[in-house]
Amino acid sequence: MEKPIIFIKDTSLTGDSSREIQTQLLKVAREKGIEDLQVIRVADLGIYDKGVALKICSLDIIYVNVKLSDAEKIIQTTIKEGTPIEDLLLENQAMQTRIVLRNCGIVDPESIDDYISRSGYASVGKCLFDMTPETVIEEMKKSGLRGRGGAGFPTWMKWNLARGSFGDEKYVICNADEGDPGAYMDRSVLEGDPHSVIEGMIIAGYAIGASKGFAYIRAEYPLAIERVQKAIDQAYEKGLLGKDILGSKFSFDLEIRLGAGAFVCGEETALIASIEGKRGTPKPRPPYPSDRGLWDKPTIINNVETLANIAVIFQKGAEWFATIGTDKSKGTKVFAVTGKVKNSGLVEIAMGTPLRDIVFQISGGCFVPENKMIAVQTGGPSGGVIPEKNFDTPVSYEHLIELGSIMGSGGMIVMDEDDCLVDISKFYLKFCVDESCGKCAPCRIGGYQMLAILEKITAGKGTLEDITSIKRIAQGMQKASLCALGQTAPNPVMSTLRYFESEYLDHIEKKKCRAGKCTKLLKFTIVPEKCKKCRLCVTNCPVNAISGDREKGYTIDQEKCIKCGRCFDVCKFEAIARA
């Protein structure tokens, strides 16, 4: 029998009693003569708010709400006799399906041997010796894997196009320039399981006939860069990279190229320009990179998450992979769920899981329990919002597009009633305006003008015509921009207009912001009944807008007030009203 291993993690929000239970388990095991039991405290099991959780690796089951007194029973029944204890079993265990994150937190990311011991690089061997490049692509086609970077282009098709193009040299690029605000899936994979990405790249190289690969990593991720570099060095030592890999006559070199903080470089042609050492400005397509890419040679660019899927497909078979997910969206997707949820974190779910399960079951619902959720935002600055009434929609490429959003790279921001959707749209649009490379006019000028209109609306100076103007500008940008950045920049605005037009109208007609985020629409006043005349607001006001004395009380001069909200923050008696 293999060595029994238990992973343990205290998933409650307060305190950590995993250490006591770990000690108890080990103690009981020793008493019962099990010497080789390992109990490992881990950082994450993908379960939240369920007390102390144990993963029994030999049986692949999870126990939750484990108490100190359960240790005896667990060792006796489960470890010794190998039967699960029904009372402790986690219900809905299949909530998360970990394929991409299969090794994260489990293998040592700095050890190639550890990765190999978990069937790592077995798929490279299988592809190089048992399969031809054509059958590799055929297998990818059967798996139905689609690009995880955002657009969802079928991966096999990309490979097949590059395979069919003529070139004395071809390139494989891993796009690890994760720039979406609020998304960090790629970072976790690179830091937690760098070899899986390298393995994916070698297979991709073999399939298209490339002998050179580049990992384009964001400079802001120093740990990821370090780990990938170490992984590359180790792979060279083992003969998994370089000339004549494993004696198969196939050669593949891999090196790191760093990004330098330009969001537009996530776009294929801009990324290629950046690797060539130039400004990251996009080029018109066609020619597509699969035809003329890096240094005009056929090139494929795959996202980190896409590449991390590939080794598993060849290990467990395309048929197995195709059983996970929906009709047209196969496999899993990793989301970085952040914003107003109890448990922010990475979540990997099978495609087709309803949004509601992600938000409420896996992430624990709203951060402030009495607040109402209003929407989630997916796809970052290129995506859109999905209102609460559509939370039962299954997550897949098609369904999200239908709702006016996109899958995107995996950011998922949950918003509650304290958030203003006009303000959020402005935030995303400002991001795109800042990051626009400036090459084409629709994106450069359109974005700027649209932002000016949103500024006007949130300052309470909007008119109804502004909404028409926004729609016209959006259409222009969508149709005429050179790359996806400009084409999708209006999405957050358009989708909030689609579902929450009333909020825009409130800002324009009633000069009111429901959430109180648009500070220029606010009015601060002092409530005399609550005021204790402590003068804290007076001393803190940066523009001396508060005057009065202890006898008559204090008032805020609305002419002078710059609505910074500092008086509201410092008042200890809730005597400042914000409306």
């Binding site: 605000p181 990004g259 914003g339 991001f431 410092v570």
Partner: protein, 159 residues
């Protein structure tokens, strides 16, 4: 601060040799220079231009395009405030305002005493701790506006 000497320093020569002949290496060379100096000084760019036989304008074209490269020396302490979506929702813009007020600097500027440099960044990757600010890599999570002064004065005292 920048001398205008055109003699090539040995570091630059070794660096150039390391990357010579590799295609598209300019950005990688600039990364190494910035790691070494903390920014890309003009005279270093000039030397690089002579060594690699690339026009200075080409080098500046790249430096100014990418946010990551700096042309001015950074302050002793770099304050990075995250304006990723999660931090934005949880009040990071207030932190930016507070730092601007306290130090009388704008985004990307260094305070007059050369002590603090304010950067507004996209995501520090700790969305669970939002809003987040970091000083020279030290992360401060769930920061309130009223706490900013305390954090800064800690570094002022240390100096």
């Amino acid at each position: 601060m920048c001398s205008t000497s055109t003699t090539t320093s040995p570091e630059i020569s070794t660096l150039v040799e390391k990357w010579r002949g590799k295609k598209g290496s300019l950005i990688m060379v600039l990364h190494e220079l910035q790691n070494h100096y903390g920014y890309v000084p003009r005279d270093v760019s000039l030397q690089l231009s002579q060594q690699l036989d690339i026009p200075l304008a080409r080098i500046y074209e790249v430096i100014t395009f990418y946010n990551y490269f700096k042309l001015d020396p950074p302050g002793k302490y770099t304050i990075a405030i995250c304006l990723g979506t999660a931090c934005y929702l949880k009040g990071a813009p207030d932190l930016v305002d507070e730092v601007k007020n306290l130090l009388d600097i704008g985004e990307g500027q260094t305070s007059k005493d050369g002590l603090f440099h304010l950067d507004v960044v996209r995501c520090l990757g700790c969305c669970g701790l939002a809003p987040v600010l970091s000083v020279n890599g030290q992360i401060y999570g769930k920061v309130k506006r009223s706490e900013v002064m305390g954090i800064l004065s800690k570094y002022k005292k240390e100096d």
